[in-house]
């Protein structure tokens, strides 16, 4: 997948940008606060509608403008699509070509992006919610309808919690919420389980290459769901689209388990005024040499683990979807040590795909060929030799 043209109007500090990015490496340099991250964020928003930074719409619009416009022409093989997002007031208007998109599920997949920012470096040692977000984003990139289940689960969870916090709990309504939570939560958890199961081998391989000699694993931690009785997924070669398959037995196992767990914890939930178990409390457990990486890995090892997670995410995406997503690396080199940085660039050179990289130090970017270079200064982007 490739972004062949990008047009930006009044987005953050970028008044007007028109660029034709190169098919391989687009290196965006400039001092801090000039707008480098805003440029990669523009690409990210074109793919995901949401941003990876602050969620306030108003802040996306340049200070003296009413409306921000992002437009990208994306190529995938012979397929060409024009995506446009206009940010205005509290809303975002989404267009494909000239058509206004009413359901975001129809839009997602137009531009698939994977982003890697310094914030991601705390993925291993940060809170479980960051790791759940990593999982959800990665799965969503593979199967846009996953968002429907995840958002549905969240809405019902909020309603259930609001009732538990309230003065009166209606037992019948609680039954209804539990059933709805079990149905959507079971779909969410089984998708995550299946994703991690297939993702872990790629992750282990990527980490082995970065940090030879040590072994690393990831598992989906879901204390309410006993998966020991589940049949193992055969270790055949992964085929494209497998994660898209609905595994009915797996889904109903998760739904039954969640239904039972909610019933078991009902008294406690009523006392605490919140839902104490379910996919919203699950975690992605990262282990280094069979010990919790969160507790035992050094900072350097943790960063190498995160790098491996990101690379595995891209690889897995490619094997499932048959093409590489656009990779956005925001000022990552400055946070990696020299060996890890070299590994990252060796990896990028050895694999196809379009990459956007921002940096304050051009010499950290170990790329010489296939580079289109840009400089950003006070919101102006210009291509340089």
């Amino acid at each position: 997948m490739e972004l062949v043209h990008l047009r930006v109007r009044d987005f953050r500090n970028l008044a007007s940008v028109d660029i034709a990015p190169g098919p391989r490496f687009n290196v965006i340099s400039g001092h801090n606060g000039q707008g480098k991250t805003n440029l990669v964020e523009a690409v990210y928003v074109l793919g995901s509608v949401k941003t990876f930074r602050t969620q306030k719409n108003r802040e996306l619009i340049r200070w003296d403008a009413d409306r921000a416009v992002l437009e990208g022409l994306a190529h995938r093989g012979d397929d060409e699509r024009l995506a446009r997002i206009e940010v205005c007031g509290d809303r975002k208007e989404v267009y494909l070509g000239d058509l206004s998109v009413q359901r975001l599920a129809d839009f997602f997949g137009t531009l698939n992006v994977v982003v890697f920012t310094p914030d991601d470096l705390s993925l291993v040692k940060g809170s479980p919610s960051e790791r759940r977000r990593f999982l959800d984003r990665a799965i969503f990139n593979l199967r846009a309808t996953y968002a429907g289940d995840a958002v549905g689960y969240d809405k019902i969870l909020k309603q259930r919690n609001a009732m538990l916090k309230g003065e009166r709990v209606d037992a019948v309504l609680l039954d209804v919420y539990d059933e709805q939570l079990a149905l959507s939560g079971g779909r969410v958890a089984s998708a995550r389980h299946r994703f991690v199961e297939q993702f872990s081998a790629r992750f282990a391989a990527a980490f082995g290459e970065i940090f030879g000699g040590l072994s690393a694993t990831v598992t989906y931690e879901s204390p309410w769901w006993d998966r020991s009785a589940l049949p193992e997924t055969p270790e055949s070669a992964p085929r494209a689209g497998r994660i898209l398959d609905r595994d009915d037995a797996l889904v109903s196992s998760a739904q039954d388990a969640l239904r039972a767990a909610l019933a078991r914890r009902r008294q406690e939930d009523m006392r605490r005024g919140q839902t104490s178990t379910g996919p919203h409390r699950d975690d992605l457990r990262v282990e280094l040499e069979s010990r919790s990486a969160r507790t035992f890995a050094s900072q350097g090892q943790q960063r190498a683990l995160v790098l491996a997670m990101k690379i595995a995410e891209v690889e897995f995406f490619e094997s499932e979807r048959g093409f590489r997503p656009i990779l956005l690396l925001d000022d990552v080199s400055s946070e990696l040590d020299r060996a890890r940085n070299r590994f990252l660039f060796d990896y990028l050179r050895a694999h196809d795909g379009q990459v956007f990289i921002t940096t304050t130090h051009r010499d950290h970017i170990l790329l010489e060929e296939d580079v289109v270079a840009y400089e950003v200064e006070a919101g102006n982007v210009r291509q340089v030799e």
């Binding site: 359901r103 599920a105 129809d106 846009a144 429907g148 019948v172 309504l173 209804v176 709805q180």
Partner: protein, 201 residues
Amino acid sequence: MARDPIAELVNQLAKLPGIGEKTATRLAFHILGAPASYARDLAAAIIQVKERIVLCSRCCNLTEADPCIYCGSTRRDRSKICVVERPTDLRAVEATGEFRGLYHVLHGVLSPLEGIGPDDIKLRELITRLQDRDDGDPVDEVIVATNPSTDGETTALYVSRLLGPLGITVSRIASGIPMGGDLEYTDKATLGRALAHRRTI
């Protein structure tokens, strides 16, 4: 306390749904520019609607006469009740001409986040109505036509659990592809649901 009358009118109009400050101002100046009789008729119409429209004591629809035209009719199928969120939904169902039964208007959906529980919508009225089947209508089916939103689904399931013990069939309106629609352009969620709820032909 003497507030500028124009500002006061703009302020009142802007409270209407879908009306912002700009539209409210435009409407206010339109009223100001129209003959005085128009302003009096408008004011009278607004007051009348509040004074003369009541809730039907059976179905909770908005009506001038109680019982309403549907509950009072002798030509409707009294064995079916269609449950809707709002009076405007009732109008939409009625406009199809497909349904000749009775209605029940809930005036909302369950949403604890907004402080709306079972006692805050017209659920008890529905139960009471169905419990009196010996004296009242011989209802054998309740069709729940709340919106296919998360809260609409919750409310539909809740109604079905409440009515289960009464031995009444509770059904849910189907959702799927619009008539004259195109599969290619149907969103994934709707198409997926239409497939899940397919029927034998």
